[in-house]
């Protein structure tokens, strides 16, 4: 590969511009580079160190030589050379490693582009490693944001409203755990792949929710967390193109994030679905969401018609995306919630079904469901139960009962913005 000609006849411009460009390259390519290195060195921490060294080398060389045509291959090759050097130093003391160094040296001697040959496998393995079962969900999410999304510890700290040292500590602890469990070495067996993929999807989903439900905070990184999750889901559709739930999750996140701009008013207060200005929904994302859902639909049909939870949630979101508040197909949504409740067994889903049933068949039908759910221990302190109850009571004209339910919900709500909204609804319900 000729790096000099790749820069073009006039080079790339001044050093500062090249620095900015390297930053861009790193954000785009870091996961690919780290993934390729993990396959070689079987150690996530070492792989990341090598990748960082390579970017330092790029900062030194690219302002002179221009950005190579295939920056990922350049970075991977440079990092591999560093690995070989390190192994050689060790090999002086350890003959067994000498053999490994020899093999790696041969591998790096070939065309650098070959270093990115197994991209799909490498990336998927990296995602599997980040979501290894020996790690807590928190550590899984942090490591995924770090290694796959390429976010810095500072950015992750902002996204999770925690401190940078906490994140740094979480990352290094996660790497130690992985090293201890030998996670980076193992190939995921075929039958375990589906289960591990479910974990990966779950982490991406949690990441999105982390950004979505807490958008009440004013920090822009919360919305960026939604964007990262949406992007990760998109990557997964390229890595596991035949899995209907992968496309289902991608559809769900595209559709949900299409409403981000409409979910807060100018004062930063949450705006409920019915009151949202639908012209502010993002048509491009909706279109991509519906496309992904259609792909998921085809794959579901091929695999025997069983729809998974992400697909069903996406189908519900799609119903809203296609409708206006008055034209919403509530019976269809109630049906989808029933299917979702069957496949998840979640009382929260059942509560959502009560809302849809209330809209489709009248508030009393919804209230009957809510009353059954009130017995459920998992929902005893869940503010949305009295909140839904209040909404249904208000719709059935029992305004005093509705106000009481809203106030009960406000007492249970942990988010100040939400409590404020619920108290306002209580007051509004009993206005003459």
């Amino acid at each position: 590969m000729s790096e000099a000609t790749a820069a073009g006849p006039d080079g790339v411009g001044d050093a500062a511009a090249t620095r900015r460009a390297i930053e861009g390259v790193w954000r785009i390519e870091s996961a690919k580079v780290v993934a390729a290195l993990v396959r070689m060195v079987h150690d996530v921490g070492f792989a990341e160190d090598l990748a960082q060294d390579a970017i330092v080398a790029a900062l030194a060389q690219w302002p002179e030589s221009g950005i190579p045509a295939n920056p990922a291959a350049w970075l991977t090759t440079t990092a591999k050379r560093r690995a070989v050097d390190t192994y050689r130093r060790h090999a002086r003391r350890d003959r067994a490693l000498q053999q490994l160094a020899h093999e790696l040296a041969e591998e790096t001697a070939v065309d650098p582009a070959a270093g990115v040959d197994h991209v799909e496998d490498d990336m998927l393995r990296l995602m599997f490693i980040c979501c290894h079962p020996s790690l807590t969900p928190e550590a899984q999410a942090t490591l995924t944001l770090r290694l796959v999304a390429g976010l810095s510890a500072r950015e992750i700290a902002r996204a999770y409203l925690t401190s940078e040292p906490t994140v740094a500590q979480r990352i290094s602890r996660a790497k130690r755990t992985l090293a201890r469990s030998g996670a980076a070495l193992e190939e995921v067996p075929a039958d375990e792949r589906t289960a591990r993929l479910a974990t990966v999807l779950g982490i991406v989903y949690l990441m999105f929710n982390e950004g979505y439900t807490a958008t009440e905070g004013t920090d822009w990184m919360r919305a960026a967390l939604c964007d990262e999750a949406t992007r990760l889901a998109r990557i997964l559709t390229a890595l596991a193109p035949d899995d209907p739930e992968v496309h289902g999750l991608s559809a769900l996140l595209e559709l949900q994030s299409s409403r981000l701009a409409a979910r807060l008013d100018d004062a930063g207060r949450p705006v409920l679905l019915d009151d949202q200005d639908r012209s502010r929904w993002d048509g491009g994302r909706i279109r991509h969401g519906l496309d992904a859902l259609a792909r998921s639909d085809r794959l579901v049909a091929i695999e025997g018609g069983v729809r998974g939870p992400y697909h069903l949630q996406a189908a519900i979101a799609a119903c809203h995306s296609r409708a206006t508040p008055s034209s919403t197909d509530w019976p269809r949504i109630a049906e989808l919630y029933a299917e979702l409740a069957r496949c998840t067994g979640s009382p929260v889903v059942e509560l959502n079904r009560a809302v849809a049933v209330g809209r489709a068949y009248g508030p009393d039908a919804g209230l009957a469901l809510v009353e059954q759910l009130a017995e459920h221990p998992a929902l005893a302190a869940y503010h949305l139960l009295p909140s839904v109850q209040g909404d249904l009571l208000e719709r059935s004209g029992r305004t005093a009962d509705a106000a009481l339910a809203y106030l009960r919900a406000a007492d249970l709500a942990t988010n100040a913005r939400e409590a404020e909204l619920l108290r306002a609804r209580a007051a509004r319900a009993v206005e003459p």
Binding site: A21, A31, A69, D227, I235, T237
Partner: protein
Amino acid sequence: MRFIGMLRHDEGAEVTPATYERMAEFAREGRLNGTLVELGGLQPSAAGALVSLAGGRITAVDGPFTEAKELVGGYAIFDVRSRVEAVELGRRLMQIHLDTVPGWEGAVELRALQE
């Protein structure tokens, strides 16, 4: 943040099979790093029309639009974290043409989508 990249070049500029191959590779990589939302080419301007408003009159003109030397021949929608990343992707589009079409000249105009 999302950007639309509009690829401008002389209408009728020939590209080589290698260009298509490299573009396919570009698309594949974009899907694998999550930055590419959509990539597409446009048919010649003869297949389109130009509807304009000037002097209080709306007129529709059939293509080809010879008065415009450089036309948008393709587009891409990127989802990136910063303008820097969008510029890098634009650079790669130019690199593909530099490597595969002798003498090709053009530009990719990157515009951030209103969100």
